[in-house]
Symmetry: C2
Subunit: 334 residues, 2 copies
């Protein structure tokens, strides 16, 4: 069941811009879905959208109030709850990607039931999944994999979808994390699925499709991340990827959250992903490398990317800086 | 929190011996914990233990009634529920490894609360886990890995524990599946953990220990099983295994439940497990191969095992047929 748009983006009392990064991602990738922003007193984030009250948002057509900000200390304050309850009364659905659930707040659960509204806790799967079958299904699939967590897999996947849509290709972004789900309006928070069903959930997320249709599947974690590699492998197997993109951030000193673990060499990372991918799709191949160069010395970026292209015989780009056109070009080449 | 023993094993109305295989595993590996069996009219399973009523079991010292049989159609019948309720009244805790939970049966939940008894639904984790840290912890660890599901990983691990105990070594079996948990009295049903916490749950299950202590960790699934490999990889990383045992069933035509997937070559399976294991323990190595030869032509077994030893330079045994002494010998060798 998809989250209804347009959205009004709730920024709450965000202490800084970073706290509203979920809302920022939504406004960046789905500007046409966002009628405005709602900020409480003291909010330090600003997406540059029109500030609106709940009533103004409804008048502008908003169907869902999206909580695009972290709640301080992981608790819902009284101010939030009374506003969210009023939103339900006014006809909004609510969507949030927080650790704690809207549905667990009794007054919100009651108000949603009373007014016939939906609560979307997108970090928590709303259904059960079957065990993966491993059976080949029609349609093409691309998976963004990473040397580490938080290296730009979601951004790269969304940039691919946008470029492919602009070229008139049949394509859908398939979200596997909470921000991606709010951007896509649907998806599965794959790291919250029960372990037995990781691959099965991906088979559900990316079902059979037209032979010339591409699913661009958001990756999670890394096969080389000692905390999360199980999720990454289950995702890789369930995706049955035809095409893989390697995402990388070259300045990182160690794996995210693991000071004792160095990043893998790109070649080892590609080999391990390819070997695992081929269990469920013998034709899997890499089609490019997406590098987050934001922390690099600007003078070194071009040489670094050209070096990767020489080393691996694949296009290497920074999706944020210059787009993903060379990666999409590569999809059509043997 | 451990399940209290001695046990009285409840076989219910098992339609055949196979339906009571959980109870059979417990009686085989923990005979000293099992005071008797309780069978309903029409039960076709028999463990060769003394048949007892609930009252006789209590008189013999039993503290927990263990449901060692599948419930028909996945439902708790009226006959079961009234017996289980009476067990709680008589002072038993209840333990079960079924898909549906004892705690979800209102009359059992109420009776347990009223009489101060515990309900152990061992297929369902009773706690939350942290994300894995990947930090090295003291103590030695062995993990049984497999070419496929259901190739003897639990049996092999328990045989290792038994042989090592007999030699006076410090050792604990660490259970990761429901039957193993009932045999050990504790453990984590690892495939039921939320995906993000697979490796973290294994770090919890196998904590820091004496430098000369071995945890023998029960494996699950296979890196080459398209449905469950994510669980297997998370388990491998969390185990930080010093020693790996490969478990195999040579007559299987395809991966369990996946008619289109062949079993991996042993060499490829060992290489993939070793490469992944070395992410969290660079000293990981294989110490042997455990083969379930029960479906093989008896005349071929000896030649097959000697062939494996020649090919891999490792001891190869059928733990059921001839024990695991050569595998334990190997632990002490460089």
């Amino acid at each position: 069941m998809a989250i209804q748009h347009p959205y009004l983006l709730f920024l709450g009392d965000a202490p800084d811009q970073l706290a509203a990064k979920t809302a920022q991602g939504i406004a960046h990738w789905r500007p046409e879905w966002c009628v405005g922003q709602l900020r409480l007193d003291g909010c330090k984030a600003n997406l540059g959208l029109t500030d609106m009250t709940l009533e103004e948002g409804r008048a502008a057509g908003a169907k869902t109030l999206v909580i695009g900000v972290a709640n301080r200390g992981g608790v819902f304050s009284e101010a939030w709850i009374s506003l969210l309850e009023r939103a339900l009364l006014l006809g909004y659905d609510l969507a949030a990607g927080l650790h704690n659930r809207l549905i667990d707040v009794p007054v919100l659960k009651a108000a949603a039931a009373q007014h016939g509204r939906q609560l979307f806790d997108v970090r928590h799967p709303a259904r059960e999944f079957d065990v993966a079958t491993g059976r080949k299904r029609p349609g093409k699939r691309l998976l963004a994999v990473g040397t580490d967590c938080s290296v730009g897999k979601m951004y790269t996947a969304l940039a691919m979808e946008k470029e492919m849509k602009a070229r008139g290709m049949k394509v859908d972004f398939r979200a596997t994390g909470q921000t991606g789900i709010l951007i896509a309006g649907q998806g599965v928070s794959i790291d919250a699925v029960v372990a037995d069903f990781i691959s099965g959930a991906v088979e559900y997320l990316s079902p059979a499709n037209d032979a010339d249709h591409w699913d661009i599947i958001e990756g999670q974690g890394s096969l080389f991340h000692a905390s999360f590699a199980g999720v990454s492998l289950g995702l890789l197997h369930g995706a049955q990827a035809d095409a893989l993109l390697l995402c990388h951030e070259p300045t990182r000193a160690h794996m995210r959250g693991l000071p004792d673990y160095k990043l893998p060499a790109l070649e080892a990372c590609m080999e391990a992903n390819l070997a695992a991918a081929r269990l469920t799709n013998s034709a899997a191949r890499f089609v490019g490398i997406a590098v987050n160069t934001s922390q690099m010395d600007k003078a070194e970026v071009e040489g670094y990317l050209r070096g990767l292209e020489d080393d691996f015989g694949l296009p290497a780009v920074d999706p944020f800086a210059s787009g993903v056109a060379p990666l999409v070009d590569r999809l059509g080449q043997p």
